[in-house]
Structures are given as C-alpha cells and as structure tokens.
Symmetry: C2
Subunit: 348 residues, 2 copies
C-alpha cells in the first residue's frame, strides 16, 4: 500500500458542511468530525487508483474505536450528533446506553470505495478492507476494538480480519458470509440487468429504481409482506396493481434520488465477487445470522462458523425482517453487540 | 354463459397441423385430437368477449376425462402422442402405467384464455374456469373425473370447483392456493415492470426476457442454485458475470421465442387477481404443497385446506425444485395422482 502525504491524510473538518463554525457543545454532547483521506489503493481487479476516502468519526478522543460498515447503500454518517444533526443510517443503534454509545467509544465509518459513482470498475471486498486499513493509518488508529459489519459490511469485515488481523480485536459479522450465495448472486445479477435495460435508452433512473425494488424483496420476507400488504389488487388504467406497489415505488424513488447508477452497479457486483476461506480469518469472530434471510441462507452462516474453528461463534435470530433485521431488530442486535464488545475488553 | 352455435363448437381436427391426413394408428397408440371452440365469455373485468378456445384431447373415447391445467406458460399439448409427436409440457407425467395414462383415460387441456396474446385486458381465474365449462359443454363432456391443476392451473381449478361443482368429481390443486400471496404478487408486479421498461424503449423482448429470468428465481430454490451454480463469478468486458447467468439467459430467450408479451402480462396479472373463499369450494380437493415453494408459502396451503373443511386434504412435499416440483418430482407426483384418482372412482 502506498500512502498519500501526511498533509493530505487528515483533512478533518470539524465544522458543518456549509462552513459555519460550530458552537461549543455541552460536555455530554459527543463530538464528531468528518474528513477525507486521499490514498493510493492497489485493487484486485482495477489496478492502482488514487481514491478519496470520506469518513466520519464520532465520540471522545482516546476512547476505543469501533469501525461500523453497513450495506452497499450505507455511508459514513451513522447517527445524528450535535455536529451533524441529520439522522444516520444506523440511528436506532447508536446512543446513550447502547453498545454503540458515542459517549463511551469512538465510532468510525466511511463511504465505501465506489460509493460516489466515480470508480467504474470491479471493486473487491478486499479492496474495501485495504482502504479501511489505510484510513486507520492516516487517522493514527493502531487497532480497532471491534469491526461491526452488516451485510456488505460483514463481507468487508471478514476481508479485514484476514488481511489486517493485527488491527482489530474482534469482528462482528451480521448477515454476511464467506461467499455470495449463488441464488442471491443470480438475484443481484438480474437487478444489474434491470439497470442495463434502463441505460440502453437513457432511462437510467427507471432501471435503477426497478433494480432497487427487486432488491427490497430480497431484503425483506414474505412474512412481513403478508402482514403489510394483504389487500386485494386494484385495476388502474386497465392494469392490475398489487398492494405493495406504492411501497415499492417509494423505495425505488428514494434510492434513485441518492444513488449514482455506477455506484449501485459496482457495489452490487462487489458482493458477488466476494469469496474468502474462513480458515484464513485470524480474529475472534461473532457471526450473526437471521433465519429467513433470503440472501444469506443459514446454511452459509453455519459453514462460515465451522470454517472459523475455535475463533468462530454463531448467534441466530428469527425475524420477519430477514436480511434487514440488523436495521430493524435494534434492541436484540444491541444486546448482541453489548455482549460481544464486553468480551472484547469493555468494562462489565 | 352464451354458447356459440354447435357447428362452431367442435372443430376437432384429427390431423396434423399442416393438413396431411394422419396414418391409421396401431391399437395401442393413444389417439389425440386438437380443436377449437368459439365461445362468448362474460368476463369479470373485461366485459363479454368472443374467444377461440384451443384444446387437445388425448385418449380413448368413453374413458373418464381428466382436465389438466398448468402454469401460465403451459398449453394444450400435454404430452407426445402418435398424432402429435412433439414433447408436451407434462411429458414426464403422462404415459403407460402413470396416473395420467392416455390409454386408460382421456386427458383434456386447453390454451389459457389470453395465451395467444390477443386479449389485452384483465383476465380472472374465474373467467378461465367458465371458459373450461363452456369447452366441456361443447365437447359434450358432462363431468370430469378430476381436475388436475398446477400453479396457475390450481387457481383455475379452485374457481372451477366453486363455479361448476357438478362438473367435476375431485380437484387436485398443486402449488396454488386461495389467494396470491402478497410477497409473490409484489415479485410478479416487478416482473411486469421489467416488461414495461422494455416496452417503453422498444426493447420488448429484452424486457420480457428479464421478467422471465426473475420469474425463474421464484420457481426454483436457493438449494438448487447452490448445487448447480457454485462457481466463482467471472469478469467479462469489465463487468461481473455470475455463474447462473448463462442459464438465465437461455431461460429468457426460450421464453421470449414462444410467448407474446401481452399473454405474459395478462396471465401474470391473472394470478394476482385470484382470490377465493375456500369455504365456497364444494368438491373434494387434494391440496399438494411444496415446502420451500417461494411463491406459495406452506402457510397459505394450510389456510386453504383449513378453509375447505371436510372436503380438503393436504399433502406436503419437500423438494429443491420449489414451485416447479410438479414438473420435476414426477415419480412422487405420479404416486399422489394415482392415489387421488383411485379415490375418485378408479379401479384399484
């Protein structure tokens, strides 16, 4: 790995985005900084690239650092703070009394390599792991107390535990395994085809929206849909419209508004490129699986844990939210994280 | 219901399609006829329409008649015969010694209303049932020994048993229930959106192909894909291509070659329009469910059987082929059909 010059490495900007100086915060308010680090990344399938890594770090200096990585649409902003008050993608799991309490530890997250849509090349989960290691070096963080990865973030965490084991004490990998399951990979491949079909004719947004709507079906479960959308279809303009279509429309539109097409395609691909040998993981790892996850079958989580040998532990949840349980079953996930972080050196 | 004139009602053409007279067949060879019946059908959502029903009837005159209806891409040609030697969609379940032995009974099937792509309007499963009743009248078939329905055909069979109970002794409904499950309906709605996205851009075939490929994922299971497609993805022209994509390409192309876009859209919709009250079914009904069917959850089959009361029975299969088990687990399905037809008056 080659690093950018130290001057470039930490462009922490402890101010809001519009440049207004932040007010002084009460002691209880956790501090947060955002910054960018320029690195040269030697990528598995895309050569060596100069990339800008965008991170956010929330919590008091000196506290243990936990890296948190989510699904392919997650980003560096985990949760609201005094500095960045908008809600983050993990808002419900971050807070006072939670395992991820920004008063007691530093929470670090970044925008995935490729998330800005500027890198139109295959991106490996190993690339993400190496980028995170470079980010830690730039931030002078020697070792993480934990890497908490969910979905795509779990895959990246496994790569990190293989490639940079000295830099993390424990890995918590939720809803992600050692490989992309062939059925889930096929599902994602078809989503990418929806994007391609849209792109053919400059209907990029429609293609991406449709891809996201198909993805939503893989993130959730028939149980949830059965509860939420059990009304008869309507005939609208001579076409049948089923109960879930309003919800799916909204999900597609929301996603299109914030996601570059290239980012979606390349990060979706990245999930399918993922393949590790669990025996190569050299960090204690808690695998959290959700029974009913339509993307990561329980059998793959079990195979992962078996491959981890004495370093692996398995927790299984049952949830109507399937693959999205991490974002929805927040109390149960928090309790799992609390136990895992306690084992990784927290005071009881 | 209004019938077409008797002269139109039976246009049985016991000749091959190119008009060449058929050779006389050995006694053992089951005879088969194809014909067309023009009917006026009062439809639930599409007014009264004059429609041409295309049927095929295989087996000796006078034998008990079993009506067989399959998924939305099934048609009137169930199996090869001396007269129509090409393979049918149900070839593996039809034959000497099978429950569906065309030497021992007459097997009747038709092309679903809408299958020719000429009816661009919502089609209800009740419409299909009424069309079948008219077909039976035209063919002077008073009563079926059994209605064997699989997938969409099971939904039509349930409607037939509600609307025309005097015309059928027993119903065997495989992989179909009293409603479209909301999750499966959402899945199909998105397939139809893929068609629409294609149509918008004059890429009809690509849209239909993509819809079919998504449908294939709902017909099969992760178990099967896990076995068949467990190889690493490739990078082809800078894009990730997963192991199942060749298979999905072929499935899409094959489907596009034989299916009018309108037929696909309207029959897909028809599944989602389906809703019956099981208590209205007045015919003994065997419900065959497949554990792991991603379109018809076991819980819906159980609810159907509970609603059928004393008329209902349930058989559950476990199969890696999921929704497609009827077409794949032919020995097990045959044994179920044999028992069911025996109960419906067959000699033991």
């Amino acid at each position: 790995m080659s690093y950018a010059s130290p001057a470039l490495n930490r462009l922490a900007e402890p101010s809001s985005l519009d440049g207004i100086a932040i007010p002084s915060l009460p002691d209880a308010a956790p501090c947060a900084v955002r910054g960018e680090v320029v690195v040269e990344l030697s990528m598995r399938h895309a050569g060596t690239r100069a990339l800008t890594l965008r991170y956010e770090l929330q919590g008091p200096a000196g506290a243990p650092v936990v890296f948190v990585a989510g699904g392919i649409s997650a980003h560096r902003h985990l949760a609201a703070s005094g500095v960045f008050p908008e809600n983050g993608w993990l808002n419900d799991l971050v807070g006072a009394g939670r395992a991820l309490d920004p008063a007691r530890r530093q929470l670090l997250a970044f925008d995935f390599v490729g998330a800005d849509g500027r890198l139109d090349a295959p991106i490996d989960t190993a690339d993400q792991a190496d980028a995170i290691a470079q980010l830690l070096s730039a931030l002078k963080i020697v070792r993480l107390q934990a890497f908490v990865g969910y979905s795509y973030g779990a895959l990246v965490g496994l790569q990190f535990a293989i490639r940079h084991p000295a830099r993390v004490e424990t890995l918590i990998a939720v809803s992600g395994a050692h490989r992309a399951h062939p059925y889930a990979a096929a599902w994602r491949a078809l989503q990418r085809r929806a994007v391609t079909l849209g792109q053919l004719q400059c209907a990029d947004a429609q293609g991406l929206s449709l891809a996201r709507q198909f993805a939503m079906l893989s993130y959730r479960t028939p149980e949830e849909f059965g509860e939420r959308f059990d009304t008869a279809p309507e005939i609208v303009n001579g076409r049948v419209r089923v109960a879930a279509e309003d919800y799916l429309d909204a999900a597609g539109a929301q996603y299109v508004a914030r996601t570059p097409v290239t980012a979606y395609v390349r990060l979706s691909e990245s999930i399918d490129l993922h393949r590790i040998d669990p025996a190569d993981v050299r960090v204690p790892t808690l695998v959290v699986a959700v029974e009913g996850d339509r993307l990561v079958p329980l059998s793959d989580s079990v195979a992962l844990v078996e491959g981890l040998g004495t370093l692996g532990q398995l927790r299984v949840l049952r949830s109507p939210y399937g693959h999205d349980a991490f974002l929805k079953e927040t109390d149960r996930i928090d309790s799992i994280l609390t136990s895992a972080l306690r084992a990784a050196g927290d005071p009881a």
